[in-house]
């Protein structure tokens, strides 16, 4: 099987080193996932698949400082097969924190995901694409989610979608004084009025004074995948989502 790396493997990261470089443990873990989603494609899971390069050794021919490593990750190395990468300085910094962590040694375990299986889950059995389309009015587009969310946040959103609700996708229930019940997505509200995209996809506005009841749901419309997907499948999905980076 081509994606042999899609098995659990232990990754060593050092909390001490991460603190020294100003990165938190969560960011080192994110760096580990970003490494797998991107660097490992060519460099391999142990960072040694390119001849003459030992990414996890802590020794680099063309860089000594973290800043130089960040620049190489983002800009690539002209004249070599190392391409530029669509990462922010923060994201590249997390990858560096991870590389430094392994070189120093301390245990953090993460599950490596499989891009192809993640894509298949997204489009197939996971039914993610049912709602999360670029044209959707009811769920956020995920076309750039790999830039907007870190891997740990993506995992949390899959397993516990109500833990952190996107304020643009809150759903409400309003009952008018005449008893009509309207449910839908909250678009705006003020002290005096509310604006909703109702379940029939109509734009509706109400004066609060005309409503008998107005409740903002505190749970997500998205189902939790805890128990539906196993940890490997969640990792696969996260791996795929981190590659959705728009057209930048």
């Amino acid at each position: 099987m081509r994606f042999q790396l899609a098995v659990l493997f232990a990754i060593l990261a050092s909390a001490a080193v991460s603190a020294q470089h100003g990165y938190t443990r969560a960011e080192v873990e994110n760096g580990a996932r970003l490494f797998q989603a991107s660097c490992a494609t060519c460099h391999g899971p142990k960072g040694d698949a390119v001849r003459g390069v030992e990414l996890l050794s802590g020794q680099y021919k063309r860089a000594t400082s973290d800043e130089q490593l960040v620049r190489i990750i983002i800009e690539g190395l002209p004249g070599t097969s190392m391409p530029p990468n669509n990462y922010s300085a923060l994201e590249a910094g997390m990858i560096v924190a991870y590389l430094r962590g392994i070189a120093a040694g301390d245990n953090v375990t993460v599950t490596a995901g499989d891009l192809a299986r993640g894509k298949a889950l997204f489009e197939g059995r996971g039914k993610c694409a049912t709602c999360h389309t670029p044209e959707s009015r009811t769920a956020p587009s995920l076309a750039e989610v790999g830039v907007l969310r870190r891997p740990l946040e993506l995992e949390q959103a899959i397993l516990d979608p109500s833990a952190e609700l996107h304020p643009d996708y809150r759903y409400v229930r309003a009952v008018t004084k005449s008893g009509t019940v309207v449910t839908g997505r909250l678009l705006n509200q003020s002290t005096f009025s509310v604006q909703i995209l109702d379940s029939a996809q109509n734009l509706r506005a109400f004066n609060r004074a005309d409503l008998r009841e107005f409740v903002i749901n505190q749970t997500s419309e998205m189902p939790s995948y805890r128990g539906t997907l196993d940890s490997q499948e969640v990792a696969d999905l996260v791996m795929y989502l981190t590659t959705l980076r728009g057209r930048r």
């Binding site: 603190a19 100003g22 938190t24 443990r25 969560a26 304020p167 643009d168 809150r170 909250l186 678009l187 705006n188 509200q189 003020s190 002290t191 005096f192 903002i216 505190q218």
Partner: protein
């Protein structure tokens, strides 16, 4: 010349000279001319309370738009106009001064100021207003200069640099200057850029600096040892809200801003005096008589840049000269303004950064933020901010614009100082409340909302609260007819009953209100003015 004509001429001359010359004596007796609004807060005591009473709780529903002045600027419109004899003087951001007919909204003249492109204000190219003395208007600019204009023509009288206030290093003047006697008092913003703050007085005739009080003591000065190493040089403690003045005590009171870097405390160990403090200065010399620090060694950006509200109240059985202070840190304080003695400090919003204040007002058990970050209440924008409060001597209540239930995750990570660059540390996350306003709001009420609070300084109790769905950046005006005017991010300007908090009137203003209201009179008619969005609106009773 007949005797009758002569008398008439005398009357005209007297009124003309009265109108033309705004002596400091007039600023001391503003209660005798409530039709004019001659300082940022309406009086030197910071009350933002109009003595005009034509608009009342009974007729306020008949308020209608008299005119609207559209600023040729898309910057935030934060200025409070000066009103003198029917003419409004205000600042179209960043630094254009405009004289407007207060009855029609038509322009008399415009002074255009071309600010240096090197200016780097933290939070928009804003200006909060002017000061007036004699026949001159005074303005600080966002590129660190002071300007004086002829109020009749808009002609520039002088335009001076202020020593050390380099635009490239982040020094900007956004505050409306305060006139005390024969001096113009201002201080620079820039506390998010590692400036060293100061309050300075200038000669109104020439712009020459007369004294300077450094809000961070230099080597050898008392309080210098509250800054570790060289951190005092970039410690912020900036000035961006107008101070107040007590003529009897001859003290001018100013609130100071956050220590820098805002969220990284380790590199500036110590209390960081006089950041986040009120300082009481002798206006003749700039010498500090006392100070009170609200938030020692702040790592939450809790600037104390609020308007000091001076009130004489009965407190625990005896009359006290106090300063009322609802602070960004979530506590509202009553201090004795003769000596800075702490009388009381109570939370007016959810507060978790400290467990409370001791008997001297010092916060106890302050949260020590970690590199991972800690969720802390209030939000980095505070439980209130620079938004003008109001004090009504009639109701005895202190009215405060507030952010309720706001929080954010603050992380402690090092910051590197580079001149002219933002010097903050790690910007807080984990909040839906934006420092800059938007016109849409999809938050849960528990995620934070705005409110106008009526606080009773005598009892320490909250008398009432007017709750808004969104947060607010609007100041408050009260009137001697017991009306309260304010607004918020939702694009409404509204009037409440100052005694009960009941909503009496509202008008859509098509933009976020991030200024404070004022009131003025012309020919026996009362007007109420407010800047919202990019427009200045004036309301009066339907004829």
């Amino acid at each position: 010349m007949t005797k009758r004509v002569f008398v008439l001429a005398l009357v005209i001359m007297a009124s003309a000279s009265l109108g033309a010359q705004v002596s400091f004596d007039r600023l001391l007796r503003l209660q005798s001319e409530p039709q004019n609004w001659l300082t940022y807060s309406g009086n030197l005591q910071g009350h933002r309370h109009s003595l005009l009473t034509q608009v009342t709780p009974n007729n306020v529903e008949n308020l209608e738009l008299a005119w609207a002045f559209q600023a040729l600027s898309l910057e935030k419109f934060e200025a409070t106009p000066i009103a003198l004899d029917g003419v409004l003087y205000t600042v179209q951001p960043p630094n254009d001064v405009i004289a407007i007919d207060g009855a029609s909204g038509r322009t008399f003249w415009t002074y255009t100021y071309r600010a240096s492109p090197q200016a780097r204000p933290c939070c928009g190219r804003v200006n909060r207003g002017l000061a007036i003395l004699g026949e001159s208007l005074f303005m600080g600019t966002i590129d660190g200069r002071l300007v004086a204009l002829d109020a009749k023509s808009g002609r520039e009288l002088w335009n001076v640099t202020v020593a050390g206030a380099s635009a490239e290093a982040g020094y900007t003047f956004t505050v409306a200057p305060l006139v005390v006697k024969d001096k113009i008092i201002v201080g620079p913003a820039g506390g998010d850029f590692g400036v060293r703050g100061f309050i300075a007085a200038f000669d109104p005739k020439t712009g020459k600096e007369l004294w300077r009080f450094n809000t961070i003591p230099g080597p050898g000065e008392k309080g210098h040892d509250t800054w570790a190493g060289e951190s005092w040089k970039t410690g912020g403690s900036a000035i961006w809200t107008t101070g107040s003045y007590d003529p009897e005590l001859n003290l001018t009171y100013w609130g100071t801003g956050n220590p820098g870097p805002d969220f990284s405390g380790d590199q500036r160990a110590g209390d960081n005096l006089y950041s986040n403090s009120v300082v009481a200065l002798d206006p003749d010399t700039g010498v500090m008589k006392w100070h009170f620090q609200f938030t020692p060694h702040d790592v939450f950006d809790y600037d104390s840049t609020q308007v000091p509200v001076l009130a004489d109240i009965e407190y625990q059985g005896r009359m006290r000269k106090v300063v009322l202070w609802a602070n960004r840190n979530g506590f509202w304080y009553v201090l004795d303004r003769t000596n800075g003695e702490f009388l009381s400090g109570k939370p007016f919003a959810k507060v978790t950064w400290t467990t409370g204040l001791d008997e001297k007002g010092r916060p106890q058990n302050v949260v020590k933020t970690t590199a991972e970050g800690n969720r802390v209440y209030p939000h980095l924008a505070g439980a209130t901010n620079w938004y003008s409060p109001s004090y009504s001597p009639r109701t005895g209540l202190f009215y405060v614009p507030s952010w309720q239930d706001g929080s954010a995750i603050f992380a402690n990570r090092p910051a590197e100082y580079v001149e002219g660059r933002s010097f903050l540390g790690t910007f807080p996350v984990g909040t839906e409340l934006s420092i800059n306003g938007t016109q849409s709001n999809r938050r849960l009420p528990s995620g934070g909302h705005g409110a106008v609070l009526a606080l009773d300084p005598k009892t320490g109790e909250k008398k009432w609260e007017f709750t808004m769905s969104d947060v607010t950046d609007a100041g408050i005006l009260t009137t001697a007819s017991d009306l309260l005017f304010s607004g918020g991010r939702e694009g409404f300007f509204y009037a409440l009953d100052a005694r009960s908090g009941q909503l009496l009137w509202k008008a859509p203003v098509a933009g976020i209100v991030q200024a404070a209201p004022m009131s003025y009179g012309i020919n026996g008619r009362q007007y109420v003015a407010i800047a919202a969005g990019n427009t200045l609106y004036a309301y009066t009773l339907r004829q």
